[in-house]
Subunit: 599 residues, 2 copies
């Protein structure tokens, strides 16, 4: 059962009556060592009483709050820590719906998430954001939504399924689960005074909500200062100690992230552990976690453990994942600490460093014990249009992936996207390619890449070449996860396989598929917006694992190759990318021709 939660304002009378001993509590946790993140102490042997999903009493003896029907949990000397908060993240990165994401992370002690549904915004616009928001509010834990700020991420260089406007932002600020603006990624726009970006920030500030930042540049000079002046209240793009220090000095909170691929805690937490900065402005987050990470490694528990391993005092690390986060979003009276009036989100653990998540209570209800879920995470009934977002317009054929030479020649010099292992930026390469029967052919060390428009059924296919994956034989791989506008990216060595893979995703409504020698050898169905599955994380993680194995079977041995695949259209990161508008020279921020010479 899910604890239906009254507002703080409506809970007062009951909480007072329980604390005063006039009414019995719903739940009392006895004999715990309470981690008090407000005072930064451990209070040995303290007890809590919970009523209506909120803490009513915290003190040395809750006996007076126990009555008929009060459930008792004996902590047996274990620690009580507040439920963990993820200060910034994208649910879609787990390829899971909010419900299934919640079900995956609750056993890891996450009881609050602040998520930015940026990916679905690109596919379904404000309506998609609303659905994520609505399913978030159904959960037995606190899932708050940050309104996406930048769809498209690169106006003029890509076409999204829908755009987000400043009016959309203003409207969303009135929704109950919206806590602020999602990361303002268009930092060049803010710095340049782009009126649309500033209007989104202003709408958020006028609503008294929190403006999320994203300053993805190592330049801490004038552009950084201009961005800080624009109003971003936090930033999670720092990687070095100097980044974290610079942000905090500007009155921004430094969010330190440990995601599946992000490892930015160790390099920055020394701002506190060695440089001695006041820790109050540091927040832990994940940003992006794959389902496999959630299943195998954990979520915010993993981040807190890591912060402690990096030298943070356990209580300070816990503050960074509880109170600091709540304060940042103006929710410190609502959650983030074990104190009267707050949502009764609490974890029992027997060790403050290893941090085993033994018993998780959210809003006064036991939601997980020893890694097992004890409640359901309700699904929204996602409307049909969210499950039919792959609009190819027609069946694709091998010929759609032919790159025609425009003149009679036996070779051309083409621009080639060079994927580099473990790096987000690509290289802008050039290669002389043979022309056979008027068709430009990839050489053996490269593959073709195609961007298949899938939002407006235009049937448009943009073709190009990519190197670095190491594919051999006859293969293709297609994905409708294709940041940020999420068209379909197909990479392959065989045009028939490429067409088959693309059509397959049209058939299943999106996902990732790998084909070899004319047959599908792996499939991850992501039917919702082509981004998410409403199956459990364990199933999705198994399919994703199979997908990675299939890529290896096709000859790809790159680390994190799927991420490279899904970022081929990310036209905000250098150097050469592909979009529905054509090949994009990101360094010059313009669409460019495929051929170096006049082919």
């Amino acid at each position: 059962m899910i604890q239906s939660l009254e507002s703080c304002a409506k809970s007062g009378a009951r909480l007072v009556a329980v604390a005063a001993g006039r009414e019995p509590a719903d739940l009392v946790i006895r004999s715990g060592n309470v981690v008090n993140v407000q005072s930064r102490e451990v209070l040995d042997g303290w007890e809590v009483a919970i009523a209506g999903g909120r803490f009513a009493y915290l003190g040395p003896d809750a006996a007076h709050t126990v009555g008929d029907g009060t459930r008792i949990v004996d902590a047996g000397g274990r620690y009580l820590i507040p439920g963990l908060c993820d200060g910034h993240m994208h649910i879609e990165s787990g390829m899971l719906t909010p419900a299934e994401f919640a079900a995956a992370v609750i056993p890891h002690g996450t009881t609050t998430m602040f998520h930015d549904p940026h990916e679905i915004a690109n596919v379904l616009g404000l309506a998609g954001v609303r659905l994520m928001h609505d399913e978030s509010l159904l959960q037995p834990i606190n899932v708050f939504t940050q309104m996406p700020s930048c769809a498209p991420s690169a106006p003029g260089l890509e076409t999204t399924g829908h755009e987000i406007t400043a009016d959309d932002v203003a409207e969303a600020m009135r929704w109950p689960g919206i806590v602020g603006l999602g990361e303002m990624m268009n930092f060049p726009g803010v710095i340049a005074g782009d009126p649309k970006m500033l209007a989104e920030i202003a709408a958020t500030q006028a609503a008294g909500k929190t403006v999320g930042g994203h300053y993805a540049s190592p330049d801490l000079g004038m552009p950084f200062h201009a961005y800080a002046a624009g109003g971003a209240a936090d930033d999670h793009e720092g990687t070095a100690e100097t980044d974290a220090i610079a942000r905090v000095r500007q009155g921004m909170r430094a969010m330190l992230r440990l995601g599946s691929a992000w490892h930015d805690v160790e390099g920055q937490i020394t701002a506190v552990t060695e440089h001695g900065l006041d820790p109050r402005n540091f927040i832990l987050c994940t940003d992006d976690c794959h389902s496999g990470t959630l299943v195998n490694d954990g979520h915010m528990d993993r981040v807190v453990r890591h912060a402690i391993e990096c030298g943070a005092e356990p209580l300070v690390a816990l503050q960074m994942a509880t109170l600091n986060t709540a304060t940042h979003f103006g929710l410190e009276r609502e959650l983030g600490s074990i104190a009267p009036g707050r949502r009764a989100d609490v974890i029992l653990t027997s060790d403050l460093e290893a941090l085993p998540i033994e018993h998780v209570i959210a809003r006064g209800v036991t939601v997980a014990v020893a890694g097992e879920m004890k409640v359901d995470c309700p699904h929204l009934d996602w409307p049909a249009e969210t499950r039919t977002t792959v609009h190819l317009g027609r069946a694709l054929a091998a010929g759609d992936f032919e790159v025609k030479a425009s003149r009679a020649t036996d070779s051309v010099v083409a621009k080639v996207i060079g994927v580099v292992e473990n790096q987000a930026p690509t290289e802008a390469l050039k290669a002389r390619l043979p022309v056979i029967d008027g068709v430009v052919e990839a050489t053996e060390d490269m593959a073709q890449v195609a961007l298949v428009e899938r939002h407006r059924a235009t049937g448009r296919v943009v073709n190009g070449f990519v190197s670095g994956f190491g594919y051999t034989g006859r293969m293709a791989m297609a994905s409708t996860v294709a940041h940020d506008s999420h068209h379909m990216i197909v990479v392959g060595t065989d045009r028939a396989c490429m067409a088959a893979a693309a059509n397959r995703l049209g058939e299943v409504g999106g996902g990732v598929t790998v084909w070899k020698d004319g047959a599908e050898i792996a499939l991850v169905e992501l039917p919702i917006a082509g981004l998410m599955s409403d199956c459990p994380a364990r199933e999705v993680a198994a399919k994703a694992e199979r997908m990675v194995a299939a890529m290896a079977e096709c000859g790809c041995e790159l680390n994190n190759a799927y991420m490279q695949h899904s970022l081929l259209a990310l036209v905000v990161i250098p150097a050469l990318r592909i979009s529905d508008r054509g090949l994009v020279d990101v360094d010059r921020f313009e669409v460019t021709g495929l051929f170096e010479d006049a082919a």
Copy 2:
């Protein structure tokens, strides 16, 4: 001139343009050592640029923000600290209007006050609160209003000029300058679940604002826990280290006060300096300051200096008077630190311990230099009804102060209010008093006390006896400052003098007057609500000083005797008080007869 201030939301474009070097700043402060309360560091040689009353740039070199018309202040290596915030206070305690209070404290570096106009609420109700709120918003510094919660303070035991209802609270939450609910003094009501008190708290929480607390009991057991469960977010009534620790553990902020008569910092700050609690939840405030304190000793600068003398690190003490306060009221993006976007409230000082307030800038405008005001503090045009609040109904005569014996006797045993030096509680004494011509007479070691109803012109006078002031000869003293319902209290040894004093206050519209041998020897006019003067603090302080001297001339040598006088009707503090309903036995919370036997 006063800096008209645009909202943060409307300022963004200008701030970015200045930080980026595209537009010139209004003001640049060069070569300062910036106290960064966000990171808790001093940044040597840093500079700030200010535009539109807000910080646009904070960094090592603001040269790029200087243009034609940019004013330059060279800090010459002095420290830049954020303007100081008073976390909880009553402007009326200074006997000054908001404008004159602001003018008195700006030279001391106070740039933000959170004030609870509880006194005027008792006299003029919601309309009075609105006027205080409106004048507050005219000031060149930030004067936020907390909506008074408890008028009357003791329902049933006193009659105020107006009452404050839960609907009033809900309405006030929509006013622009209201930041929350003023101290919820009716802690027995909260603990007992009084619906009116809980409705006021709920209205405040529903508006997303801060609930001020006031738990004036040493009992840290069940009643304290019940009060904490009621939703108070802070408390300034603690006096001992255990009080402060207990509050912070419950997720309440501990406000440590140093007022004219309150000395509660030294006893509690050890919670941080010795007990090692996280300092973020500690806030400094004054609560009540007399005009003399403001003129002679200072305001928040005095409190910060004192906290440092008590062992707090200077940067931690400054956080307690800047960032911690701003965060508490949800204003950390708006003020309380030197950081982009915040109101440009900054002090230049050459020493972080002695803390001389050398130059005060508020919203980017120099408001005081070396103790001298450089701007005006605008007055509201207070409406006539606020200047005519002493409604006696008729001229009082000596006979009104006669205590008649109801039967033929030569003596009676009367209850006597015993004033104790340096203590707020009074003693409930008894004395056998002579009856002469049917009138009960005070003996030489005591005086008469009368409560003259002044809100509704009923002409009602409640008479009693008081001991402890030490008055001799023929004298009387009257005051319309008479906490909390602010009728008129007259103490005297001579009934003709008492009548003359009372009539005199009726004539001048309120204040304090001292009479000796039939003539007035001191007068402090407080024409606004009978509580405040709109003359400068220096003038009011001089008159108040003369008043104290006059009391001494009448034989009173008690420390702080005027405060004792003005608290004689404070029917929430034991043991025996006087109200318009009669003599009040505060221990039993009931009106009681004047005579012990059936007189």
